[in-house]
Symmetry: C2
Subunit: 340 residues, 2 copies
């Protein structure tokens, strides 16, 4: 309990030098099996535990990775972090967690903090506020491995893991069309965030391919939330022509849509509703909500693998990869008009 045992203590007890102990502890091949065993036994006997700060400082490798996400309160990010940690742990990496709380300033600070902690790399998803990306450039300049996922930014010359959000929007729309819905409303955000815009563009493309021209009154760009879904639906229902299906920019908005439809006594899935993200609650609400799964776990796993691949290369940025995952359509009752 007193002073912590160091490799010097082991060396002294064994009458060898610290380099021998270090070699034994690190499985360096140029050491005899006999002394290795001797060292290992003595280490256990003395209840030795490495000081990673010292070894990291000395070796220049911390075996720690930093992860920056907007907030763990968003289920998607919690899932992604779960998978990242799980995967990286297998390869003896530790994970320093930093939440930007959707603040640009915090994000910049996060990068700084992680860099000071000498992480071997950073896996990040951007805050809603982030426009400039100089702070991430600094990570690359220091030759540390950087991977950006989900909330990406075109100005960051680093590998990316994301979902094909255009396809997600296309899939959702196509599904509605296949179910016989024709007048589709879309309630989403006006913010310039790629994933949301891409979803919307996918929607437009699917309509175009089906030779349907979208109705202006049916498109609302404001916020994403239950309230936004309610308000948006109420507004759209005032139109002369009524939509026969609604797409919510995310599942929360879709829940709002469902609530507003119920209030207006409009039956679902006679009128269809679909969302994005496949939140946990989506399969529990009534009717169960069709959605597009974001593949949070797969995304986290890919991030981790990409990072591991990068650290292995001498020049991590020689070939910048872009991993685009396929969205998965989850069909549930809220759009089940024709199947029985």
């Amino acid at each position: 309990m007193n002073k912590k045992t160091t490799i010097y203590d082991i060396a002294r007890a064994l009458g060898v030098t610290v380099s021998t102990v270090s070699r034994a502890l690190n499985n360096v091949p140029t050491i005899s099996e006999a002394t290795r065993k001797l060292v290992l036994d003595k280490a256990k006997e003395l209840n030795y535990s490495v000081n990673k700060l010292a070894s990291s400082l000395s070796s220049g490798k911390s075996n720690t990775i930093g992860v920056i996400v907007p907030t763990m309160q968003i289920h998607f990010f919690a899932e992604a972090v779960h998978s990242i940690e799980k995967e990286l742990k297998k390869h003896n990496y530790s994970l320093l967690l930093y939440q930007s709380n959707e603040s640009f300033e915090d994000e910049v600070n996060g990068v700084k903090t992680l860099l000071e902690a000498q992480v071997d790399g950073i896996i990040a998803s951007l805050s809603l506020e982030t426009q400039e990306t100089q702070h991430f450039q600094e990570v690359i300049n220091q030759r540390k491995c950087l991977v950006i996922f989900d909330r990406t930014h075109k100005d960051i010359p680093a590998p990316v893991v994301k979902l094909d959000d255009f396809k997600a929007g296309y899939l959702a729309t196509q599904h509605l069309l296949e179910q016989g819905y024709k007048n589709i409303a879309f309630i989403t955000t006006d913010k310039e965030i790629a994933i949301f815009q891409d979803r919307f563009h996918g929607f437009e493309a699917a309509l175009k391919d089906a030779q349907i021209s979208p109705q202006k009154d049916f498109i609302i760009r404001g916020d994403l939330s239950i309230e936004a879904g309610i308000k948006g639906t109420e507004q759209i229902l005032k139109s002369v022509i009524q939509p026969d299906a609604f797409i919510g920019g995310d599942d929360f908005t879709a829940v709002g849509i469902i609530q507003a439809l119920k209030t207006a006594n409009i039956a679902i899935p006679a009128t269809g509703v679909i969302g994005f993200a496949n939140q946990t609650f989506s399969s529990f609400i009534t009717p169960t909500l069709s959605s597009i799964d974001q593949q949070a776990n797969k995304m986290g796993e890919e991030c981790a693998k990409l990072f591991l691949k990068m650290v292995k290369q001498k020049s991590p940025y020689e070939a910048i990869e872009q991993i685009v995952l396929d969205p998965i359509l989850i069909k549930r009752k809220s759009t089940n008009r024709i199947d029985k």
Copy 2:
């Protein structure tokens, strides 16, 4: 970009020594404003960034805390970690995250890893498998700050932050009784985990105080899950006497109960249902589910504060605190029999 700037570079550029630079950088009072400014400017000019590994190694304080939770896939833990990180960040602590994945072996390994990383303390919630607690004793032996939350264990002589789960069970039951329900069923787990057992004991106590003797057939101890809720309900409904209310050991089980009741064409809240944990989905399902909130954020915050308090004391374990938070009853439609 080449070699990283160190305090030696700054010292050399300014013709002073490293101690001066160190002092200036760390706001040590015994230094003239003039040189401090000089150093700070030069540091910025040279794009200096501290190496925390070095300062931690040298000072013996890492300003890093380790957090061990079963899994971030459980919303409660994601919320708790969110709050811990948010609170600790204010005080310049970084957070190393480790998931035990409900495995005892992983948990032991987590403690080892975090200790090797020289964290200043550990905040942990136990895995379902954990029976022995020697690994946590080691944390205490090393005089590092340990805080256990939610999933606690009586053998660990460390401060604890938890919910009053007995009261939670009592509150839920009392609420049902107040709403006029009299024959209450309880579907929960048979595992010996304090929080679940405490909830059940609270239930028993509330019945006893109301001078109602619980019906044996109405108590099912198996698993906690939607399926368990469905199966349990189906079984209970076979009884001659039918319950007029159900308590699910957690919200998932309660969802299963609701589904089974719907299938059996039993109206809710004529028959009442309540759960525990106040999951996100609980307010979205139909009918909205009454539940007992676990105060994840408050719990995380209290853990962080307790930790900060401990590190300030020279002997962190002189007075072992136990913070017990009050459960909060969330009344929703699933138990709203008499209010309008």
